[in-house]
Assembly symmetry: C2
Homo-oligomer: 345 residues x 2
């Protein structure tokens, strides 16, 4: 995920065609490999990508290997948007924030005088096209600040339970990647500790990460707003306040890893330029570590985008991959199945 | 630990009597309770304090109990200074920072022109008495900023391996509390996840917490300076920069808990006013939770201090304890042994 190039992104929500759910691809669901092979990464096609993962795990877990790593140091970090779940046509958190603006609009008549809130409420596509990063922060501030964490968590839970994706028509948590779920389990079965390190706000990710990814809240690192603690009529209360404490993106990701995890990972998995520094820090090429880049090259089952995309732009990290020895995952070629549901590709 | 009242604290380093190691108290080491009882909290005397801990753990771990808590929600948070290890005559991190000033003084002749650095270098007790919070930040900045995290970690490791405590003459990591080590183990044996939530800088705590407390770096929350990531001649490097990102003390502790852990604990253990808000947040009195306050009332084996102390001041939290139902631990009466070593009380 990459947050710097959101200039035109927010406007795209207005342009998103809804309900254009693609025809089911029947190629994936029933594929099984030879019965003899263990169910390790079953949704991954055999080939150099899958092999590089299995080889790495074997190397660091075999006590006889010169590259053996003790379990406590087997830290694996995963970007979230576009890496564990989809991020098109817009980061799902941004869709949430835009829904919040619309839901709250009646209580805030003054928003009709304030850009970009007016543009969102009135679905003014021309004005939305001029939304920049600063305006996005304004949207988040206007909709999140002042909420207690319990109120915020309840709103997020409600949204995740009811909102549906414009293309696939399913709840957003169904748009997680089956092969990545298998990779997370495979690593944990090999005594890795799996973390999310996301540019997105950590509160929303934590609300579903344990249920969906098997990753508990304390292993979710992300961007964070400021919080304030007070006794409100004697009740201890944490309230979101305006202000950003930390942006866990790009050069912020290694900082977040040091601050929240305190160990250097041996596996980093990302999909965009926002993950470049996390990949450099984890797998510079001269230590025992694995860097993974998910390349969205599957326009049929998911989306195909990289260098020219406003969401999840990928060029620098892709160019640096050969030099640093990172493994590039082709969604199209390396994955038998994209999403868990039999109803989805 | 409480950081707000450090006004006169730093000066005390010059006043500290060295080597006044107390006579060994022979009362503790050999006490064993009835052979029939399991080795749960063996260094704790039988009585209402110990019983309140055991009763709480039984309540939340018995699936038949109405207060049963699922293992993933069994989060326990511990203050560090004065709670897991000693904090007299000064916070050990402050002793470290003062040692750093002295060690670096020859390379920084300009420090002899700059208060409070000059006062520290020249052991000017009169000037040291005027050191306030702002000056303390200056000390940390001057000694830590510009170091890479690898350099900093190496300096901390060296200091912890070689520096000794002025009263007890042992490395600081020997001044951890044996009963608290047992409490940490007891909780983990009951599927609690144990965290440190300290006002101190998290980097130093992480350097010994796993070895000494069995708490891995990713479960240490603390105050944090700013960090910067860059490729230095191609090498990914994190460097400490001037600036404080987060002060994990007082009202900052519940914020740190939400930000780093993302769940509300069911057990909080502290020893000073700096822990008041963490205790309020965890154990307000109307939910299943245990609040523990360690009262330093053992001037013979350790130190006796509370309301009048500049280090670890304890008054508000002590006064609120009965109303909120917190358990106050008397070091003198509830602990058979203070430190792990047979050579120490």
């Amino acid at each position: 995920m990459r947050y710097m190039s959101l200039v035109v992104v927010a406007s795209a929500v207005a342009l998103t065609a809804c309900g254009d759910r693609p025809a089911q691809t029947s190629s994936a669901a029933d594929q099984t490999t030879a019965a003899a092979s263990a169910p390790v990464l079953p949704s991954w096609n055999e080939g150099p990508t899958r092999q590089s993962i299995v080889d790495f795990v074997d190397r660091v877990t075999d006590p006889a290997s010169p590259d053996y790593v003790t379990p406590s140091e087997r830290i694996a970090v995963f970007d979230n948007d576009g890496n564990l779940w989809a991020e098109q046509p817009l980061y799902f958190q941004l869709l949430f924030a835009l829904d919040r603006v619309r839901a709250m609009a009646d209580d805030h008549p003054e928003w009709r005088e304030t850009e970009p809130l007016r543009a969102i409420i009135e679905d003014d596509r021309g004005a939305l096209a001029s939304i920049g990063e600063h305006e996005l922060v304004e949207i988040v501030m206007a909709t999140h600040a002042g909420l207690t964490i319990d109120e915020f968590d309840a709103i997020v839970a409600e949204w995740l339970a009811t909102a549906t994706h414009p293309r696939f028509g399913v709840p957003f948590t169904e748009l997680v990647y089956q092969p990545m779920l298998e990779l997370l389990s495979y690593l944990r079965n090999n005594e890795f500790k799996t973390f999310i390190v996301s540019g997105g706000g950590m509160d929303m990710i934590r609300s579903f990460a344990e249920r969906v990814y098997g990753i508990p809240p304390e292993q979710v690192v992300g961007s964070a707003g400021e919080l304030e603690f007070a006794l409100v009529e004697g009740v201890p209360t944490l309230t979101k306040t305006p202000g950003i404490n930390f942006v866990d993106d790009k050069a912020g990701k290694p900082v977040g890893i040091r601050r929240f995890i305190g160990r250097r990972p041996i596996l980093a998995s990302g999909n965009s330029n926002g993950d470049l520094q996390m990949l450099q820090y984890t797998a510079p090429g001269d230590r025992v570590a694995l860097g993974l880049i998910l390349h969205h090259d599957d326009g049929e089952r998911e989306w195909a985008y990289d260098r020219a995309s406003h969401v999840g732009r990928l060029d620098a990290a892709l160019e640096e991959a050969p030099e640093r020895g990172w493994t590039v995952i082709s969604m199209k070629n390396d994955w038998k199945k994209v999403f868990p549901s039999p109803e989805l590709p």
